[in-house]
């Protein structure tokens, strides 16, 4: 059973109390830095920031509904090879899960980091966050949390929680060493800290936290939030599937695609140094284009768009954590996360695989059993 503690929110301000909590970590000698979402000076954007100076932890704002990128990619950069110091990384659940997948793919490690995961209330699309935050940067996060915790998904009558977040059921930070909880808490007064791993426990002890039980209504709150999101997710899947259930419809769904590959750049688990679609494999000869056009009468240019997306499904849907960065990144507003998560739910179910669930679970395509999936094979005598 994990050790838990309740941290008081000083001045009824979650953000400042979080800042002092994390600052106290930097005091511990083995922690060299903290990487956490911090509000940028302009006030209307929040970005992961690597801090070593305790003085500069003030702007920490992990609960802000801003999600400009999936930080797993950043953690990967920090941990691919030894960094020479331990870093506390503050991550959303989907970032932790993506990081776990990247570790399996040898793109990062758990070695020199302590993951401080947060209960995730969700986020807006980048452009929506700007709209939302610029109204009152100082209070935006608190305003958002209050709204979400009371069941709202639309704010100011104009901005919605992103589709990925509304469909997300992984709201608590599984896989974190230390979990920062807000669900079921009176966030004006306190937040929950729980040590989930040995590493987390060591830090928990170092920080001199007092062991206290989590409030009983926490589980209940999470369950009811998950139920709402589950419902949304299922409706979203159904809707998406009905829009893409033939090759023609799929092509129409993806018709805005211009081969910019932003989605894959934004994707935390698309780890290839360079996507195969930009390598010489797809460097077609001019005569090939003509041949295609001849055969079908006409051919949409640029080519290889549907091919690209389906291939991406094959490459990363098993590792897809549903963070929604693909949609966020698309310049032509293709609802990608809807499509990806709908497909991923099928592939992950096929292998009973849940990305980010455990480091021990091998990526399904790297292993096999001699006796399995007989249904895939057509047997004739």
């Amino acid at each position: 059973m994990a050790k838990t503690s309740l941290c008081d929110a000083a001045d009824q301000n979650l953000q400042t109390s979080l800042a002092s909590f994390f600052r106290s970590m930097l005091g511990q000698d083995e922690i060299s830095a903290i990487m956490a979402p911090m509000r940028l000076p302009a006030g209307d954007m929040v970005m992961q920031t690597l801090v070593t100076n305790p003085e500069q932890v003030d702007q920490i704002d992990p609960f802000a509904p801003a999600f400009p990128m999936n930080a797993a990619r950043l953690v990967s950069r920090l941990t691919k090879r030894p960094a020479g110091g331990k870093v506390v990384v503050v991550l959303r659940p989907c970032e932790i899960r993506a990081h776990i997948e990247l570790v399996k793919l040898k793109q990062g490690s758990m070695e020199d980091i302590v993951i401080a995961g947060i209960d995730c209330a969700g986020s807006f699309k980048n452009t929506d966050y700007k709209k939302f935050a610029e109204k009152d940067p100082e209070t935006s996060t608190a305003r958002f949390l209050k709204g979400v915790l009371s069941g709202e998904t639309r704010f100011d009558g104009e901005v919605d929680l992103s589709a990925a977040c509304r469909a997300c059921t992984h709201m608590v930070p599984n896989g974190a060493d230390l979990a920062i909880g807000i669900f079921g808490m009176d966030i004006d007064r306190q937040f929950l800290v729980s040590a989930e791993t040995e590493k987390g426990e060591a830090l928990f002890d170092k920080l001199g936290l007092k062991e206290q039980d989590a409030p009983g209504k926490r589980e209940e709150t999470i369950e009811s939030l998950v139920a709402v999101r589950e419902k949304f997710k299922n409706e979203m899947f159904e809707d998406t599937r009905s829009k893409t259930d033939t090759p023609e419809k799929l092509a129409a769904y993806l018709s805005g695609c211009i081969n910019c590959y932003n989605c894959r750049v934004a994707c935390p688990v698309c780890y290839c140094r360079e996507c195969v679609f930009v390598t010489d494999v797809f460097d077609h000869d001019p005569y090939q284009y003509l041949r295609w056009a001849r055969r079908k009468g006409k051919i949409r240019m640029p080519t290889d768009t549907v091919f690209y997306h389906i291939t991406r499904m094959a490459h990363m849907s098993l590792a897809c954590v549903g963070c929604g960065q693909c949609s966020n990144a698309c310049p032509n507003d293709i609802p990608l996360v809807e499509l990806f998560t709908a497909t991923a739910s099928q592939t992950q179910a096929a292998f009973e695989y849940e990305p980010g669930r455990s480091l021990e679970e091998e990526p399904p395509l790297a292993v096999f059993k001699e006796d399995e999936f007989a249904e895939v094979v057509e047997v004739k005598h």
């Binding site: 793919l105 793109q107 290839c272 494999v281 005569y287 490459h315 990363m316 990526p363 790297a366 005598h381």
Partner: protein, 1142 residues
């Protein structure tokens, strides 16, 4: 790969012959592989499924390093290797000379179909009027006199069966390429002299022969005949034996003096048959018994004529000869008990069963009753048909029938209806090989196969039901009758036909069972130096044992060649310098074969050419009438010589057959052969025989386009190679390790031998003699002394491997010697694990509680040391399988039963009155040790079977009286109480291979702690990790001689690598495009050969080109084509897919 001067001859193209030939060829020798059949593969060409996978997997025998030197396709389709010259339908008729320089006389049977011209179209078979039993289907179907010996063989050329062919000539007319010749024309030049004192006889013979086109002279006496011979040449003489004056034998003698090549056939009456047989020793070719059928006589003359005219004799130089002649299946119809075979169609042999369920079999793989085509619901196997049977002169166990019966029963379960009932009637289930026992257990438990102990004596037909009735003794010996739909006779192996003659020709001896006689402790050696045996030629063997034996034989041959100075000198110069085309844009030249206008009408080659030319990558398209002819090939060479292109596509038939020639062409025009492809344009005409010409033409175009697409993407890389440290390390100094070390050292390569103990020898230190009576210590000493004196051998006793790493060609092993820890690191190219094993601990049957309870090893030692006085004893009990063949040691230790027999015979010799009881589960007296089993019984030992659930009970009385053993005797249905002076426990063998040692070399141990071989049948001494081999007991329990065989086989596998200074990269090999690689290591995980590793310093994934086999699992696992397989680049594959879709 360049052939070496050293050349060996391998006789027999079955599994062991292929293994031996490949081993020698891969080592670098030239090999002539002959088989008297018109195909290679032996019986394996007829078998689809092998235990334990119940599939095939034979291709795993093909070369793994220097793969491109050999064929890379299904081995059952055929085989080629640069260094192997395969001669089919050929026999050895003489071996002169000595080891290192034999002259071997070969005779090829008449070849009526020119394989160079035959395109396998089958027009000949379509017109052939003859139907005979098809041996490929074990006689279950029919074929024509002109036929394909194996339907899936490559190249698929027809042959004529001279015995069945009537020489009607229909096929000659039908053949579109003029490939068939029947040699009728030359008959008038073939002079036959008929010598008989009876005018009517000689005159009618003359008449018959003249009618068939021969020119004939007659002589009425010997003197007249000799005169005639002086005047004109004759090729053949038909000679009466009994003549007044000079008799036939004398005429023969005189004739042989002046005309030794004359084919003489003696004509004899019954009374002089013996004289005729004698005459054959004088030089007569054959004899005919009077009165004879004119047809027989004429066909005999035709045979002789054709052999002389159409068959080619040849002398081949060979430094060593390896006989891998295999065995012959027992034919139950010749036995005293036929079990209804050949009488009831539903009684079949094991081989026939395999054909019945084969996809290429007579019924297309359906398991149905041959009598009526109805499904088989109940089927029985009868074991030991033609084996373990003194009545058929087979006092030996064939050793493989138990396993094939289990396999077949499992296959029947798979192919038959769900409720199929399969029963095996047996006496002892001889599951003595590695994993065999678990296989049997699984058959019984998981597949519900019924095992019934008891020998079936009769199979008869119930006329009313049409079922086969089997009667057999039940548990209480009551006679049980049971009805079956089909009965399979598990027929054993017999010495191959013509063994006597061959033994005489090659000058080796036969053993008492009629197989080739091997020397003591030298399983592959004959009495004649330079002549060796592989496979079942010297005794029944299963596939794995045959493969090991072939390895042992090829090693011996290699030593013989090497010591004759024929080893390593290379024949040809350097590899050709191909023109570098890497910076040129691809330009494909296409040359199409018109196939001698045998393609279906309406196909427009010009239109095809025009179509291809629309692709800008195509430089030009030419057509040639027939590429397969010499003129055609010259035309192709001419076309290829003209410059202006950098890739060549040939559209022809039989791409397999051309692959080799393309290599030659490449050397001629200095073009890398990977830039050349042969695309099969004839296949569509076969495959879619009923389709319209326009369709076939389209298909041809499609094939060519995909060929163009493949060539477009080819990017020949500079050949990289893996350097080899030409040294070997052998871990373990028992007989296996010593033998392996010596074998490698004898080839002139340095070997280091590491042994834990302070002394070499391992188990041989306590083993005194073998069951055959051979002196083990003398043998051990001779090996040890040679080893200790050998300049190439370094011995580290009292030493162990501390750590090791590396890959084939370059291993680094740190050895620690003594407790003082002197440490040394070795750089070596191969590692052989020979860590052996020892007797399993006796923790059962009250061992240790009483001095009268001892293990087999203790018995052996006590007998040697004379600590046991058998003469003062009354009763000895031996319990077999003490702790063996049940979990957790669920394997047979193989040597204990033979040991028991050895001790019985020894003790009985010392004390004939001694009562000996053997409590056993299944006596594993496989092979010739069955004879010792018979002897032991004859000596009076009583054998009582027990089962695991009714084990014997041993009680040790406190009063010092005899140990009591109580056992259930099933036939008497009673418990037997025995008071024993001595109780001997056969506890079996456990390995002593540390898992960490195997792991250090990238190898693994199996569930029982033995070395995990790459493949139990096809690669029995290799690990999956190239360059690591194992032998002796480290592999699995085995006898001294069997250990020697594995050691020699392992050494031979190692020699393939050590004989090269570097291992070159094959055409289809994976590589990493480093700029794209994200180092996710998924490719490392999926590589089955451990050929990939990550270099942490360089931050690169490295592919060992010698270990990579080009399977492409890495490439399809790699999401962004950073990992690619040469020849299968993704861009090219996608383009090909595109090309073939209309």
């Amino acid at each position: 790969m360049k052939p070496k001067i050293g050349r060996a001859l391998v006789v027999g193209g079955g599994i062991s012959g292929i293994r031996a030939a490949l081993d020698l060829a891969e080592t670098g020798y030239g090999v002539t592989l002959v088989d008297r059949a018109p195909h290679i593969g032996g019986v394996l060409s007829q078998l689809d499924n092998q235990f334990p996978t119940n599939q095939c997997g034979m291709c795993k025998m093909l070369p793994l390093v220097e793969r491109d030197a050999g064929s890379q396709y299904c081995l059952r389709k055929g085989l080629f290797h640069e260094n192997i010259d395969i001669r089919l339908s050929t026999e050895v008729v003489g071996i002169e000379g000595e080891a290192g320089s034999f002259m071997v006389r070969l005779r090829e049977q008449p070849r009526f179909v020119d394989p160079e011209k035959c395109i396998g179209c089958g027009e000949c078979a379509a017109v052939c009027p003859v139907d005979v039993a098809d041996e490929f289907n074990a006689g279950l179907s029919e074929r024509k006199a002109v036929y394909l010996p194996v339907p899936h063989m490559m190249p698929n050329t027809y042959v004529i069966d001279p015995a069945a062919c009537t020489r009607c000539g229909e096929c000659v007319t039908a053949c579109p390429t003029g490939a068939i010749r029947l040699f009728r024309q030359g008959r008038q030049d073939f002079g036959v002299l008929v010598v008989d004192d009876e005018y009517t006889v000689r005159d009618s013979i003359k008449e018959w022969l003249v009618e068939d086109g021969f020119s004939v002279e007659t002589a009425g006496s010997g003197e007249e005949a000799l005169d005639l011979m002086k005047k004109q040449p004759f090729k053949m003489m038909l000679l009466d034996i009994k003549m007044p004056g000079m008799d036939g034998v004398e005429v023969l003698k005189k004739t042989m003096e002046t005309f030794p090549d004359m084919a003489v056939v003696m004509m004899t009456a019954y009374a002089t048959v013996e004289t005729a047989v004698e005459a054959m020793k004088t030089g007569a070719m054959d004899y005919l018994m009077k009165p004879f059928d004119p047809e027989d006589l004429v066909s005999k003359v035709i045979d002789v004529y054709e052999i002389q005219e159409a068959s080619r004799g040849e002398e081949v130089e060979a430094g060593a000869v390896v006989f891998c002649g295999g065995t012959e299946g027992y034919d139950p119809s010749t036995g005293k008990n036929t079990f209804g075979y050949k009488k009831f169609p539903d009684v079949v042999t094991g081989l026939e069963f395999e054909r019945l369920i084969s996809g290429t079999g007579p019924g297309g793989g359906q398991l149905v009753r041959p009598s009526n085509g109805e499904p088989v619901r109940k089927i029985a196997w009868i074991q030991c048909v033609g084996s373990r049977d003194l009545q058929t002169d087979a006092d030996f166990c064939s050793g493989f029938c138990c396993m094939y019966a289990i396999k077949e029963a499992m296959l029947a379960k798979e192919k038959g209806p769900e409720d199929l009932d399969a029963t095996i009637f047996y006496m002892d289930m001889r599951t003595f090989g590695k994993t065999f026992q678990r296989f049997r257990d699984s058959a019984e438990k998981d597949h519900a196969i019924r095992f019934t102990r008891g020998r079936v004596h009769t199979v008869y037909l119930d006329e009313k039901t049409g079922k086969l009735m089997i009667s057999y003794p039940g548990e209480n010996s009551q006679r049980i009758e049971e009805a079956f739909d089909m009965v399979v006779l598990s027929t054993g192996q017999q010495p191959a036909g013509g063994m006597d003659k061959l033994a005489q020709t090659a000058d080796f001896d036969l053993n008492q069972w009629g197989f080739a006689l091997a020397e003591p402790f030298a399983p592959s050696k004959t009495k004649r130096e330079g002549i060796f045996f592989g496979g079942a030629f010297s005794g029944p063997k299963d596939i794995a044992e045959s493969v090991i034996s072939a390895g042992s034989a090829s090693l011996c041959a290699s030593v013989a060649l090497h010591s004759a100075g024929r080893g390593m000198a290379e024949v040809t110069g350097d590899a050709p310098e191909y023109i570098d085309v890497s910076i040129q844009a691809p330009k494909v030249r296409v040359v199409l074969c018109e196939c001698g206008s045998t393609l279906p009408g309406g196909i427009d080659m010009k239109a095809i050419a025009a179509d291809l030319k629309t692709d800008p990558v195509v430089e030009n398209v030419f057509t040639i009438p027939r590429i397969c002819t010499t003129e055609g090939w010259d035309l192709l060479v001419e076309k290829a010589k003209a410059k202006g292109y950098n890739r060549l596509l040939v559209g022809a038939c039989m791409p397999y057959a051309h692959a080799r020639r393309l290599k030659e062409l490449g050397e001629k025009v200095l073009m890398n052969p990977v830039l050349m492809e042969v695309e099969d344009i004839r296949a569509p005409a076969f495959r879619y025989a009923d389709a319209e010409a326009s369709y076939i033409q389209k298909a041809m175009e499609r094939n060519l386009r995909s060929g163009i697409s493949r060539l477009r993407g080819v990017d020949p890389l500079p050949k990289t190679s893996v350097p080899v440290a030409r040294k070997a390390l052998v871990v373990g100094g028992g007989i296996a390790g010593m033998t392996a070390a010596l074998a490698i050292a004898d080839h002139g390569y340095p070997v280091t031998l590491v042994e834990n103990d302070p002394e070499l020898g391992g188990n041989l230190n306590w083993l005194a003699r073998t069951i055959e009576g051979y002196d083990v210590h003398a043998f051990m000493d001779s090996v040890r002394q040679r080893l200790e004196k050998h300049p190439q051998v370094t011995i580290h006793v009292d030493s162990s491997v501390m750590s090791a790493f590396g890959e084939v060609g370059n291993f680094f092993t740190t050895i620690e010697t003594g407790s003082q820890s002197s440490v040394e690191t070795l750089h070596h190219g191969v590692a052989i694990i020979a860590t052996g094993g020892g007797e399993a601990p006796a923790n059962m049957y009250s061992h240790g509680e009483n001095d009268a309870i001892i293990t087999q090893k203790e018995l052996e030692q006590k007998v040697s040391d004379k600590q046991i006085d058998v003469t003062s004893m009354d009763t000895v009990v031996m319990i077999q399988c003490a702790g063996s063949r049940e979990e957790p040691r669920n394997y047979c230790s193989r040597v204990c039963c033979a040991s028991t027999l050895k001790h019985i015979l020894h003790m009985k010799k010392e004390n004939a009155d001694l009562s000996i009881y053997v409590l056993y589960r299944d006596m594993m007296s496989y092979g010739f040790s069955e004879t010792w089993f018979t002897e032991a019984r004859k000596a009076g030992a009583v054998f009582i079977p027990y089962t695991v659930d009714k084990k014997p009970v041993v009680s040790v009385p406190g009063d010092g009286s005899n140990v009591k053993i109580s056992a259930y005797e099933p036939l008497l249905d009673a418990n037997v109480e025995i008071n024993a002076d001595l109780l001997v426990l056969a506890t079996g063998i456990v390995p002593s291979l540390p898992e960490s040692l195997a792991a250090a070399y990238g190898a693994h141990v199996d569930a029982d702690g033995f070395f995990q071989e790459a493949e139990p049948k096809w690669r029995p001494v290799d690990s999956l990790k190239e360059g690591v081999f194992a032998c002796g007991i480290a592999l699995s329990p085995r006898s001294v001689t069997e250990s020697v065989a594995t050691a020699e086989a392992a050494a031979q596998r190692a020699m393939r690598i050590l004989t090269k200074s570097a291992l070159s990269r094959a055409g289809v090999t994976a590589r990493v495009r480093q700029s794209l690689c994200s180092l996710c290591e998924r490719c490392i995980d999926v590589c089955p050969y451990g050929a990939r590793s990550i270099d942490l310093d360089l931050q690169k994934v490295i592919v060992n080109a010698a270990m990579c086999q080009g399977c492409g699992n890495c490439a399809s696992e790699c999401p962004n084509s950073a990992s690619v397989v040469d020849g299968f680049f993704d861009g090219r594959m996608l383009d090909m897919i595109d090309m073939v879709i209309e």
